[in-house]
Amino acid sequence: MAFRLANATKDGMINAFGPLCNSGSVKIYGPASGAATTQPATPETTIVSGTHGSLLVSIPFATTAFTTSSGGAGNIGLNGGAISATVSASGTASWARVFKTDGTTPVFDVDITVNGGGGSMTFDNISFITGGTATINTMSISQPM
């Protein structure tokens, strides 16, 4: 017997997720120059620069980070469109951790690849350079079934 979520359950689950990111941030990490970087095992894992890379850029979410799901869509997207920030350190963007508004409580981690590389988060160019601008144009979070 298949397990299926009711529309209201899907929306409820995903709508509980979005507010965790309100006024939070997407912090992108990577190695300074060609070195290997491993994404932490869990979002609770303490970041060690030699293993997980250094902070390259912190991109703030809007006060209301995500839209609201309704009608059983089970999907939310960035509220107000793209978010961006100036890169503070050069490196290869490898993974990101989303933090709550306190800047220290993790919400989730995602891997980063160049477009077509299969990452949950992709950029057209992952060779970030200090002073450049990193923009997240779209981000959707969905509960498929």
């Binding site: 689950m13 057209d124 992952i126 060779s127 350079i129 779209t138 509960q143 079934m145």
Partner: protein, 50 residues
Amino acid sequence: VTTRPLVTDSEELMPNDLKTEDIVVVASGTFVPPKPKPDDEKDKETVKAS
């Protein structure tokens, strides 16, 4: 004694039902490098001064 219904509707017997999946996050972005400093202009001024 409470009895659970065996079948609630015919759709539950479909063989190609999908399993509930985890929450999925998909994000897409761009990176725009910083504009190069106008070193060329500086060089021209240096040549003029000399």
